[in-house]
Symmetry: C2
Subunit: 161 residues, 2 copies
């Protein structure tokens, strides 16, 4: 059980775009070079973030990607949900209702089974933790922000890449 690698991509892209917000939109080409990621696939994975209203993209010659709302209004949960869909680590197939064991079922089948309940609670704890942290918090490293801006200038300056 593991979530896709693109969740890490999405979060780091959000943080970086937050740091570079005043530089205008960042093209997918530069973003891919920034993290050394496959450009075409990264583009594909950012699109759901745009649909979710987290990132915005503008076409045209000076177009690119940027945050669509304030970093403190984007939770980590938002990004995960946008990228992984309606996350449900444990999906109950209700096997208790099947086979011989289900015969003579009482009203207990109207309530969710204990297994499901425990899994749901764990899932909720996980979700709550993710919803408690925002992109703004992840941006809170002055050195990293500074270095990012410096590197970005250098990247733009160099004709190659």
């Amino acid at each position: 059980m593991r979530m896709g690698e693109s969740v890490e991509w999405g979060l780091h892209c959000c943080v970086t775009l937050g740091w570079l917000a005043d530089r205008g939109p960042v093209s997918i080409r530069r973003l891919a070079a920034w993290f050394d990621l496959p450009q075409e696939y990264l583009k594909k994975r950012l699109q759901p973030l745009a649909r979710a209203g987290i990132l915005g993209s503008s076409p045209g010659v000076h177009g690119g990607w940027s945050l669509a709302r304030s970093p403190d209004e984007i939770t980590v949960m938002d990004v995960v949900t946008a990228l992984e869909g309606a996350v449900e680590p444990f999906r109950c197939a209700e096997i208790r209702r099947r086979g011989v064991g289900a015969r003579g079922a009482g009203p207990e089948f109207d309530r969710p089974c204990g297994v499901t309940t425990v899994m749901r609670r764990a899932e909720l704890a996980w979700r709550r933790e993710l919803a408690a942290h925002t992109i703004a918090e992840l941006m809170a490293s002055p050195e990293s922000a500074e270095r990012t801006r410096r590197n970005y200038e250098r990247m733009i300056a160099s004709v190659v890449e």
Copy 2:
């Protein structure tokens, strides 16, 4: 992101085997019929539980599966870990160290990045919740236990199946 279906199987099997503990071991054939599951595959998925010391299996004509320790000493986390391996929903690929963005990296790369930290905390909350509940708790439904024992008797009595 989703965990395998066999986690549900494993947990329900543990609970049922707990209820039927005084009936001796239950053969994989009966267990599969109980939940209407594919017998061969269920067998394969129970084996890791045996290796983890959660279930025990005895060969021979009256052999079968049973709990290897007391139900209140088996946490839901134990079962999940045994079936899914060392669970790590979020695996950090350290993309921040790659590409142009990593140039001029300071000592901040010695510490795990913010993204990883948040994901780890969420993961921990999830794990803690799973570790807080045992098979014994899941067994705590007298009606279900009673119905299970009745159905099991009937199942043994009927020659077919």
